[in-house]
Amino acid sequence: MSVGDRTEKIMKLSKIKEILDAEVLTGADMLETDVDSAFGSDLMSDVLAFVNDRVLLLTGLVNPQVVRTAEMMDISAIVFVRGKQPDENVIALAEAKGIAILTTAHTMYVACGRLYNEGLTGDEKEV
């Protein structure tokens, strides 16, 4: 990323893991991946209304459609909040699609707030 003001927002998954005290469920080899914006929602259609590159998705839903949504949008990493644990099918689907999954005990509000506070802001550009 060459544009100056965007550079500050770039954050590696390893940093996100640290900020959220998160556990990596799949994609441990992807921790050097950069994201530069984030979206927190339990409504997948709301997620589908926004398109950006290198987005982190935070959600409290743990069904396979969360991974499908990420797949369609080229989202490389999902954080499940409030200690949610997806079942093995969800993890296997994410693994097959090359999507990292992290889980954090923090609530949605606190998880988003922590990341925002560290410079990972949202991008509200709608299509």
Partner: protein, 140 residues
Amino acid sequence: MAELMKLHYEVNGDDFTRAGETSSKVKKTLNQLGFNPEVVRKVAIAMYEGEINMVIHADGGEIDVAIAPEKITVVMKDVGPGIPDLDMAMTEGFSTADHSVRELGFGAGMGLPNMKKYSDGLNIETELGKGTTVTLEFNA
């Protein structure tokens, strides 16, 4: 770029957890054919919303995809209940989906609006009790 390619899929209506498999296959094919990733993403998202709709409202259906170098056309046909009020269905936030669908993150009334937003052409033919055919066009 390859010659015109036609793909046909049956969408299973009784398993919501598998909804999206067809969109996933088409996305993979378009990527392999070398289409612009932005275009591929638009097709994938719009088609995925349509596929979810098919499973939620119409117990599945059939999807035909025609791929040409300049244009991708997706026709999604079901024999479901039809859409009683298309204007309402196109309104953001209007939904007839039940609670179980909402718990899965859909049914927020964004499906058709998102399909319109991401496509370059949207046509919906619907008849109560007969079914709905949604045609999506994308400029490649």
